[in-house]
Symmetry: C2
Subunit: 298 residues, 2 copies
């Protein structure tokens, strides 16, 4: 029995002000829904510039509660278009407690789930540990997929994409898709070879999660140059390259480095077909994986 | 301080008889050593045809103890050429107890370590669960790298390549390289698109272990058509495609589908450079990985 799912990704530039960024996102979502997308995903922190290029306490003003104005707008959009919409919020959970949170809105049901980024990066130009408290889920609760009217979503965020552990835990919990809203780009002075290696590494590690788990993967990244307003660094060139791959890691759609909408009809039966042929889950050596919960085996 | 390591891979066809297969392997090893290889890796079960295409108890006659004639010959070759040599044996540990074992010979020191394949596949044409007892290492002992005069080798075998857990455990134990002797190929009747997806998936999952762990990866696969002597299936077309990639998953050398020797000078400082830039090990959520030791989270 063939079951298809039409998914859409919005790859866009962003602006410092939410009104303009959200208008651009909304235009993309409407366009994709009009083309038949049942599930649409936006990129990480799509409502603003990627503000983590420097550390400034004033920027916490950008954060909103889960059901603040941005959340309400996304929920209304999903309801109006009768789609499942995956958005991304800079979440104010309490004063001094903020998260990088992906949120799922399901048709008329509004917000039905959210995921607070568990792996939080920090490197020059990406000072996320200042802004975002890591998701506080523990072993029993952590990396739980979100059930929607279209299936069970293994929703993760950006830096999580480098961790096979996160994808595996989602798959073991029955996720039917892996999703990565992302904001990643180049340090402009790096040479072309280094830039290519970085982008290739990013593409292939996420495709590999599809392979390892027999699941389709959706990745939405932003585009465009965004300045470092502290003027310490030359800013970031976000590399786009959003993509959808199938359960063998095969690319089904792949964006360039400009704004672009991706629309893909996924054959959801292929995942089980793939897992029957190469049944990795059968052979995991769970008796010998205990040290995966150690920081280092020293 | 730059530290380089010159590695060589032998990608070859095999024959049913060991004498001819080993002569071919030896020719490749000598050639690579003459070109400056310090470490040479052979493909999985290089001494014979890939005999797991059907189940026949008589084929256990092919197995040898670790230090049987094949092991002694490989040890002597490593000593003569003053190299570290990674070979692969069908190991007879006891009557009725056989393993698929990768073995490391270090210059004059002879056999200094071995790894018994932990993940053992079984699918049509690859009936390995009949022939090979899975490695019996537990959580404390499992997936331990092998120390050599050239560095610490994260040696795994074939089907292990699909498991990010295995590569991670090797990295956490201080492995400086990941190595995968392999025997994988196409079912001849599959169409070209399926063949391409399979080979691409195989290449990218192994490159992804380099990315996730900031380590170079060496993969040696066999080539050529080998018949199914039971005449049930049309045999296997081994796809070659052996490669060496660096710690960002970048391909440094990549073989075609014929016999071929690969020689690569690895800059071993790049791994630490990469890990400093993208420090994944720093941010692993070991508090939330406990369920990785479950079969399924149901």
């Amino acid at each position: 029995m063939k079951h298809t799912l039409t998914v859409g990704l919005v790859q866009q530039a962003a602006w410092p002000d939410k009104a303009r960024s959200l208008a651009e996102s909304e235009r993309g979502v409407r366009d994709l829904a009009a083309q038949g997308a049942q599930l649409v995903m936006l990129q990480e922190l799509h409502a603003t510039h990627y503000f983590c290029q420097y550390e400034d306490p004033a920027l916490f003003d950008l954060a909103e509660p889960l059901d603040g104005p941005t959340g309400q707008r996304l929920a209304a959009l999903a309801a109006e278009l009768d789609i499942v919409l995956v958005g991304s919020l800079f979440e104010r959970r309490a004063a001094g407690l903020y998260h990088n949170t992906a949120v799922v809105y399901d048709r008329q049901q509004g917000r039905i789930g959210h995921y607070r980024k568990m792996h939080v990066p920090d490197d020059p130009g990406f000072y996320e540990k200042f802004y975002f408290t890591p998701g506080d889920a523990d072993a029993a609760q952590g990396f739980q997929p979100i059930d929607t009217s279209l299936g069970r979503l293994g929703l993760l965020v950006c830096w999580d994409q480098w961790y096979p552990e996160a994808a595996r835990l989602m798959a073991l919990a029955g996720a039917e898709l892996l999703l990565y809203p992302t904001a990643i780009g180049w340090h402009p002075p790096d040479d072309d070879a280094e830039k290519r290696r970085q982008k290739d590494a990013w593409t292939l590690i996420q495709r590999s999660h599809g392979v390892a788990n027999g699941l389709p993967v959706l990745v939405a990244n932003r585009v465009g140059h965004e300045p470092d307003h502290s003027e310490v660094s030359p800013g970031i060139d976000f590399w786009g390259g959003s993509f959808v791959c199938g359960p063998q890691g095969e690319l089904l759609a792949h964006a360039g480095k400009e704004s672009e909408l991706l629309l893909v009809e996924l054959d959801m039966a292929r995942g089980e077909e793939t897992r029957r042929m190469w049944p990795y889950l059968r052979d995991r050596r769970i008796d010998a994986y205990g040290d995966l919960t150690r920081r280092y085996r020293d």
